[in-house]
């Protein structure tokens, strides 16, 4: 029972760096056979001819807003957006209301996720109690309750001593720390990248140094303590250089980007207004080039989303009052295809490493991120060629705050299978 047979696809095997033409047989939620010409009368067939088949995508940075801000997103709407986007696993950021800072809250969130039961929902827990940046959470107890990482995302950890002790302490539990870097004393009420655009539009600026100086501090801390530290949503050229230098010194530091920081620069504010208002702010073309080179050189090993859904009310009106963030989970994959495959920055094999294999390794998900016998049957199938228009009003996410409306993109996920269950078939959600 519960057999699925994926026929005639081009299989992407990131774990062994190979691409092969073969079929995949799934039985009871597990990949049981990979070879050409499989026949199984009892299995449900999916024709993947002309498509790319690989391990489901894993997103290290989403905001599902539950508990507390369900009008922006909830576990159900967010999970459906993930399925549509080809993501079979997501890591939720813990800056909810209340923040996920206790074992009780993380147990609650994970039991809610099981109730929803679509994609694999993992959660980070906060670094500091109440996201206040003062005292560290019970991270061992949080890990035992299911936390996969620690992050005060949305805020920078300002207290150097707290972070120093946390990094030292976290080594005992091998729990990775995800950092949102922004020196708030410098960033202040900044709205957009520092430079000509801020001057022209008359907006207060969020300078690159606010990000770079904190990344520099925390690279030193990570290197000294030996902690596993991940810098999320990188946006600047200098941050790539800094991280690369410390990686070469042996620091256990990794990084991710978002698709919007690769596709849009600060000039986009003119066209998209507050829909392009995001933290960190959209930078300039030299940064985009440096980020892409950082991806090619492996300095940035993970592609994430920073899917940040908001209500229309929160994004409309006064630019200075509008919320930061972009809703992008269901178009993250085609956006990255445009940013990185179209200009041949990376191969499809690399693409799958950056979006599935590497994040699985980072989260310690040993049964995910590889297309291999015995692995969980989490699978994404992509149509690499056909262009479709982005229609934000058809997003299943509650967040319609997205500047990419109307863009023509290719590389859309067509079928998504999670734990052997087909949740999207031929571009139609079955969840």
């Amino acid at each position: 029972m519960n057999k699925v047979l994926i026929k005639n696809g081009t299989l992407i095997l990131p774990q062994s760096n190979r691409t092969i033409e073969a079929d995949v047989l799934i039985d009871d939620g597990v990949i049981v056979q990979i070879e050409p010409g499989i026949n199984d009368g009892k299995a449900e067939r999916i024709n993947a001819s002309g498509y790319l088949v690989g391990p489901g995508f894993i997103n290290l940075h989403v905001h599902f807003r539950e508990p507390g801000e369900e009008k922006k997103e909830d576990l159900f709407s967010g999970s459906r957006a993930a399925v549509k986007g080809g993501f079979t696993s997501v890591l939720c950021m813990p800056n909810t209301r209340p923040p996920i800072d206790s074992p009780l809250l993380i147990s609650y969130l994970l039991s809610r996720a099981r109730e929803v039961g679509l994609v694999n929902v993992f959660s980070a827990a906060t670094i500091s109690l109440g996201l206040e940046g003062k005292a560290m959470t019970d991270l061992g107890l949080l890990m035992n309750a299911g936390a996969k990482a620690l992050s005060d995302d949305g805020k920078c950890v300002k207290d150097s001593r707290l972070l120093y002790l946390l990094m030292t302490y976290s080594r005992y539990f091998h729990l990775p720390i995800i950092l949102h870097e922004e020196d708030i004393d410098i960033a202040g009420e900044g709205q957009v990248n520092e430079g000509s655009m801020a001057v022209k539009m008359g907006y207060r600026s969020l300078p690159k140094v606010a990000e770079d100086s904190m990344i520099a501090r925390d690279l030193v801390l990570a290197h000294s303590t030996g902690a596993t530290v991940h810098f999320t949503h990188l946006s600047t050229a200098l941050s790539v250089k800094l991280i690369e230098w410390f990686q070469n010194q042996g620091a256990k530091v990794t990084a991710d980007v978002t698709p919007h920081h690769l596709l849009l620069d600060d000039q986009s504010i003119i066209q998209y207004g507050s829909r392009a208002k995001v933290k960190p702010p959209l930078r300039d073309q030299t940064d985009i080039v440096a980020l892409k080179e950082g991806i090619q050189r492996g300095v940035i090993g993970i592609l994430a989303s920073d899917h940040a859904p908001h209500t229309n009310e929160a994004k409309e009106g006064d630019f200075n009052e509008a919320a930061f963030g972009i809703s992008n989970l269901e178009i993250t994959v085609p956006l990255y295809v445009k940013a990185l495959i179209d200009d041949q920055s990376i191969s499809w094999l690399d693409f799958w490493k950056l979006l599935s294999f590497n994040p699985a390794q980072f989260l310690g998900l040993t049964k995910k991120g590889s297309l291999e016998i015995g692995m969980d049957a989490d699978i994404a199938i992509i149509d690499p060629e056909t262009h479709h228009e982005v229609k934000v009003n058809e997003f299943v996410s509650k967040g319609k705050n997205c500047p990419f409306d109307g863009w023509q993109l290719k590389g859309w996920p067509v079928t998504t299978i999670v734990n052997g269950k087909i949740l999207m078939r031929h571009s139609k959600l079955e969840a």
């Binding site: 560290m136 035992n144 030292t168 302490y169």
Partner: protein
């Protein structure tokens, strides 16, 4: 043996042979303590000052009793009574004491190095009863005596010291003493409380705590002070107890229980589960009796120079 040290400032100054000498003498006193009434006159006419600048009950009482059992006159001098609170400098206070013409001074102070400092100009025997984060030699000696009396062969023995190594003078003195007698030492606890540079103590750092306990014959738990949590070294008492506290009786591969030790006072339910404190494999209460015996041995050896006529 001829005893060559005027003071006992730290375990570091002692040789293995000297430690074994003190343990042997301490062992005799430990036996002798079982009899009643007990009173010796070996040090009668000698004067001892207990000078404690840091709160302590058990160590101060232990020294006081040790002195009195040997026939000494003991004067207690605590911080609250001292002229330091009247604005006198530490150096002047100590120089005033120097004119009191006593024979021995037991001192505890929150600053590392104070016993060494005063030993440079005070004319009598100085015994360090704990200085800051540096040394607590009589604690280490009493721990070693407890182990010796339990039948432990130091040359085939591994002790896991668990907890706040960073701030602990007990961990420093004990590990130094153990190494001098040929034992292996393991440190474990929250990484925030295990200092960089610990290699100097010649122990292995082993994570996690369960693995450190598995490798050990004796599990030595350190007291966790509440202010360490307030200072952010670990997040909460609950988390500490869950991951770094001893929750069950540790058993060796041969089925025998491993010994549990603790310098006291114990935080029941934090570094050690309450039910384990008084279990038969716990040496914690015996440590107190050995403390009295070893302090008698130390006082006698320093004052009489190691020559005793039984």
């Amino acid at each position: 043996m001829k005893w060559k040290h005027k003071h006992l400032l730290g375990i570091d100054q002692l040789s293995g042979e000297e430690i074994r000498f003190l343990l042997e003498k301490g062992n005799q006193y430990r036996e002798w303590l079982e009899q009643s009434p007990k009173k010796l006159t070996r040090l009668s006419g000698y004067y001892l000052i207990n000078l404690f600048f840091e709160a302590s009950t058990r160590t101060r009482v232990s020294f006081e009793m040790a002195g009195k059992l040997l026939g000494m006159e003991v004067v207690n001098f605590t911080n609250e009574l001292s002229s330091l609170n009247k604005g006198e400098s530490f150096r002047d206070t100590v120089r005033t004491l120097a004119r009191m013409k006593v024979d021995a001074l037991v001192i505890r102070h929150r600053s590392s190095g104070i016993p060494l400092y005063i030993s440079q100009f005070l004319p009598f025997h100085i015994i360090n009863a704990g200085d800051g984060m540096r040394e607590h030699p009589t604690q280490a000696l009493l721990d070693l005596l407890t182990m010796k009396r339990d039948g432990i062969d130091f040359t085939r023995n591994t002790v896991a010291i668990i907890g706040d190594i960073l701030h602990s003078r007990v961990a420093r003195s004990l590990s130094i003493g153990l190494k001098k007698l040929g034992s292996q030492v393991i440190f474990s606890g929250p990484p925030t409380l295990i200092p960089k540079g610990i290699e100097v103590l010649e122990g292995q750092v082993v994570y996690p705590v369960e693995e450190a306990i598995r490798q050990a014959d004796v599990v030595y738990l350190l007291r966790i002070q509440k202010e360490r949590q307030e200072a952010g070294f670990f997040p909460s008492a609950k988390e500490y107890a869950s991951f770094f506290g001893l929750k069950e009786k540790p058993k060796g591969p041969d089925g025998r229980w491993k010994k549990i030790m603790h310098p006291g006072p114990v935080n029941r339910g934090l570094e050690i589960d309450s039910s384990l404190v008084e279990k038969e494999n716990s040496l914690i209460e015996e440590q107190v009796s050995c403390g009295l015996a070893i302090r008698m041995a130390v006082l006698e050896t320093l004052i009489l120079g190691g020559q005793t006529d039984e």
